[in-house]
Amino acid sequence: MTVKDVKTILDGSIICGEEYLEKEVHTACGADMMSDVLAFSKNQSVLLTGLCNPQVVRTAEMMDIVCIVFVRGKKPDEGMISLAKERGIALLTTDHRMFSACGLLYEQGLRGGACS
């Protein structure tokens, strides 16, 4: 699916990175602990998180993550937005909670990748 599909499925809104809406996402990861995210290395991923600080964007940058979804309506601040723009990462926000957001994407065929 694409970033745009993720946005539609989660009834989300885009904060920055409209130009990446057509980008493909192949896997997803849902976590609030960034080291758990860093333990998971997959191509073209989307990250769902309830954490909202600059290290979320940094973590996504290191992992080449395509898109970050902030759950429960969290909104990143200006510093995070400009960092994401600089690094070419799309930011979305959704009112869904983590469990539901992950479930909705899973239901539509997005997977987490094999355990490693």
Binding site: M33, S35, L38, P54, R58, M62, M63, D64, R87
Partner: protein, 140 residues
């Protein structure tokens, strides 16, 4: 690619907002040099975890990066408290980070295990009260 590239970064203590800037810079430079995306990611993640560790546990420190045609060597030096039990620190899930750090998304006890996972070689030299040097190598 030139024979060798040497980069030095000073990691400032307690500035959590800026933690990761050095790793980000290295990532950009390796990409520019045409290093494979897989190797770039391994270096970026291993170094980023190390950089975060230095900010959380060690009052900052210095990172030296040496890029040669066949490997990237990362040397992370700090004058922090040292690691009392390396074997324990290497266990996934073991952490001594304060709650404040956990609320920022780190301190899950995955830092050192992740550094080992993403580097091809890792060596830790540590002395209590003196500091820690972590040397990691990623093959190109």
């Amino acid at each position: 690619m030139s024979d060798q590239l040497h980069l030095t970064y000073n990691i400032s203590p307690d500035d959590f907002t800026r933690a990761g800037e050095a790793s980000s810079d290295v990532k950009g430079k390796l990409k520019q040099m045409g290093v494979s995306p897989e190797a770039v990611r391994k270096v970026a993640i291993a170094m980023y975890e190390g950089e975060i560790n230095m900010v959380i546990h060690a009052n900052g420190g210095t990172i030296n990066i040496i890029v040669s045609p066949d490997e990237v060597k990362m040397i992370l030096e700090d004058e922090g408290p040292g690691i009392a039990d390396i074997e324990l620190a290497m266990q996934a899930g073991y952490s001594t980070a304060p709650d404040k750090v956990r609320s920022l998304g780190f301190g899950a006890g995955m830092g050192l295990p992740n550094m080992k996972k993403y580097s091809d070689q890792m060596k830790i030299q540590t002395e209590l009260g003196v500091g820690t040097t972590v040397t990691m190598t990623v093959k190109l």
